[in-house]
């Protein structure tokens, strides 16, 4: 069965990946279109990128998105990693079912309900909406994704290293930072990246969680897109796609290398060298 791909399988893959990638590729190509019309190719041009550079409102929104993304991804990674440890290592404790429910529910919860409920909480707490509430909202939904990513790493992890440290009298907190964290670090980093990209991509929840004067890039894109397709939007989207793609590829290569190095070290340690 594994002697290569049959024709049917190859066709399925070709069509599947064409479907996944073609729209994005077309969007990128047409961001370099000199013509304002979508269907007419008017030659290569970078004028929409130049125009973008002069759009102060959009640049402000982008900077705001990055700020919110950095803060919320970092807090969400700390909270999400703690949550993953609770799920995998704490055994049974009162309220465990509710806890795991609160971790899994946001993954499938429609954005619009999360957004609405967040806004009503902020109103009830009398918090004025802006950057701070935006961060609170983003941390809450993205920490659950981090928890899932880190949890799956914790489940496949060799406990004997941790136990050895504890048996030798290393305090639990130190064991975590010296032994556990370095091993689960690739998962923690990809959790951070996931949280960052979720934060920087979110339009619906942000629309509810933010206030006047604190719109983010996706909110700006959403309101522009409602007015129709424009080459300038293609240019914004292309920049975002480029950043995300580079980030993901670099991270995956880095984690793969770290993984290989770690496995080599572990094997060497086991061999007593």
């Amino acid at each position: 069965m594994t002697k290569g791909l049959s024709k049917i399988n190859l066709t399925a893959l070709t069509f599947g990946f064409a479907f996944l990638y073609l729209p994005i590729v077309l969007l990128v190509i047409y961001s370099f279109n000199a013509s304002r019309l979508v269907t007419v190719w008017g030659g290569f041009s970078t004028k929409w990128y130049v125009e973008l550079w002069n759009n102060q409102q959009l640049i402000d929104a982008a900077l705001r998105s990055v700020q919110v993304g950095l803060v919320s991804a970092t807090v969400a990674t700390v909270l999400g990693t703690m949550a993953a440890i609770v799920l995998v290592r704490m055994g049974r404790f009162p309220g465990r079912t509710l806890f795991s429910g609160m971790i899994y529910a946001p993954l499938v919860m429609p954005d619009i309900i999360t957004g609405l409920s967040m806004l009503l909480l902020f109103v009830a707490m009398d918090l004025s909406r802006g950057m701070f509430t935006l961060m609170l909202a983003h941390i809450t939904f993205s920490m659950c994704y981090v928890a899932i990513v880190v949890q799956s790493r914790l489940l496949t992890f060799d406990r004997s290293l941790e136990e050895a440290a504890l048996d030798l009298g290393c305090p639990p907190a130190k064991t975590f930072f010296v032994v556990t964290l370095p091993i689960i670090l690739p998962a923690v980093i990809s959790g951070w990246m996931l949280a960052f990209s979720l934060s920087i991509d979110d339009a619906v929840i942000s629309q509810f969680a933010t206030g006047p004067g604190a719109s983010t890039l996706p909110i700006e894109i959403f309101s522009a897109v409602r007015r129709g397709v424009s080459p300038q939007m293609n240019a914004v989207c292309t920049i975002l796609i480029a950043i995300v793609t580079t980030g993901v590829i670099i991270a995956s290569i880095a984690t793969k290398r770290a993984e290989v190095a770690r496995m080599r070290e572990e094997r060497a340690a086991m061999a007593g060298r």
Partner: protein
């Protein structure tokens, strides 16, 4: 792994252990659970022109009488209003219909893909998985936007079909049900492919070889061995896409038209333009009630999966 070992590291210092549990627990209680209780409460309130635009307000300083007044002020009016306003009821049904149809379409497209990925040489499988995940990292908004340029009346699809001479008049695809299906399938496909791939990859090939040795034709062993064994992946994938698809807002808003008014749009319209907060909350509560059964099934499957691995 036994329970005593599992709880050993943090168990040695009860305070550290409690802190690790308490911090994320409290965060989620305050910022995830409480908001839903507030939504529930406001769904029984009445719309008023004030800030905030609903009443009654709970005034604990007023003592017992104020609490009694508060509960007397609550009503089911917003729920009656949903049923009286046929557009909202239709939005519920069309959301379920669109989400179910999109889920089936995704299953039909994702299964051959996941199957081919699981049968690909081991060395290229991680790359294929990565290639499925990669588009998911770009914003949903961007992926939906990309389709507007393709499906538009003056878009790339119509332009190329006309250029090829297949059609004379441009097809009306954008702002129809078809556009919403395309958008949904496109946006959620990775969520369907990955669980399917996970269960197909685990499949023990000796079972298929055994079937073949006993004279079972390939198509028959596919139906009688492969499909039943991949069922957990099918279930996980279907719920993982169906639940968010029911409450989807961006896709029908940008790609759909008057025939694809979904419940997420109804909620948004009640909340922002109409400023009817109690009405929007009632819609949200009903939507959650519709989703509670699939969410419970999904969580059950998920928990079993985790406990099976632990």
């Amino acid at each position: 792994m036994t329970e005593t070992v599992a709880s050993k590291p943090e168990g040695t210092s009860p305070w550290g252990r409690r802190l690790v549990v308490a911090v994320p627990y409290l965060w989620l209680l305050v910022l995830f659970l409480t908001p839903f209780l507030i939504v529930l409460k406001i769904s029984f309130s009445n719309k008023v022109v004030a800030q905030p635009p609903y009443e009654p307000q709970l005034d604990l300083a007023g003592g017992w009488q104020a609490v009694k007044d508060f509960f007397a002020g609550l009503s089911l009016d917003n729920y009656y209003a949903i049923f009286e306003y046929t557009e909202n009821i239709e939005a519920y049904f069309s959301s379920l219909k669109i989400a179910a149809t999109a889920t089936i379409l995704m299953l039909l497209i994702a299964y051959p893909m996941a199957y081919a990925m699981a049968r690909a040489p081991k060395t290229i499988r991680p790359t294929l998985v990565m290639a499925v995940i990669l588009p998911f990292w770009t914003s949903l908004l961007i992926r939906v936007y990309a389709w507007i340029g393709i499906l538009d009346r003056e878009g790339l699809l119509n332009a190329s079909l006309q250029w090829l001479g297949i059609i004379d008049e441009p097809l009306e695809i954008l702002h129809t049900e078809i556009a919403v299906y395309i958008g949904m399938v496109y946006s959620y496909l990775p969520f369907m492919v990955l669980p399917l791939y996970a269960s197909l990859e685990k499949l023990d090939e000796t079972l298929l070889e055994a079937a073949a040795d006993l004279g079972c034709p390939p198509w028959k062993s596919f139906w009688q061995v492969t499909v039943p064994l991949s069922l957990p992946g099918v279930i996980a994938g279907c719920f993982l896409v169906f639940i968010p698809a029911v409450g989807e807002f961006v896709i029908p808003e940008l790609l759909g038209g008057s025939g694809t008014y979904m419940i997420g749009q109804a909620l948004y319209a009640e909340f922002f333009p109409n400023l009817n907060w109690p009405g929007a909350c009632a819609i949200a509560v009903l939507l959650l009630l519709v989703l509670v059964v699939p969410i419970a099934i999904y969580q059950n499957v998920q928990t079993k999966e985790i406990e099976g691995r632990a």
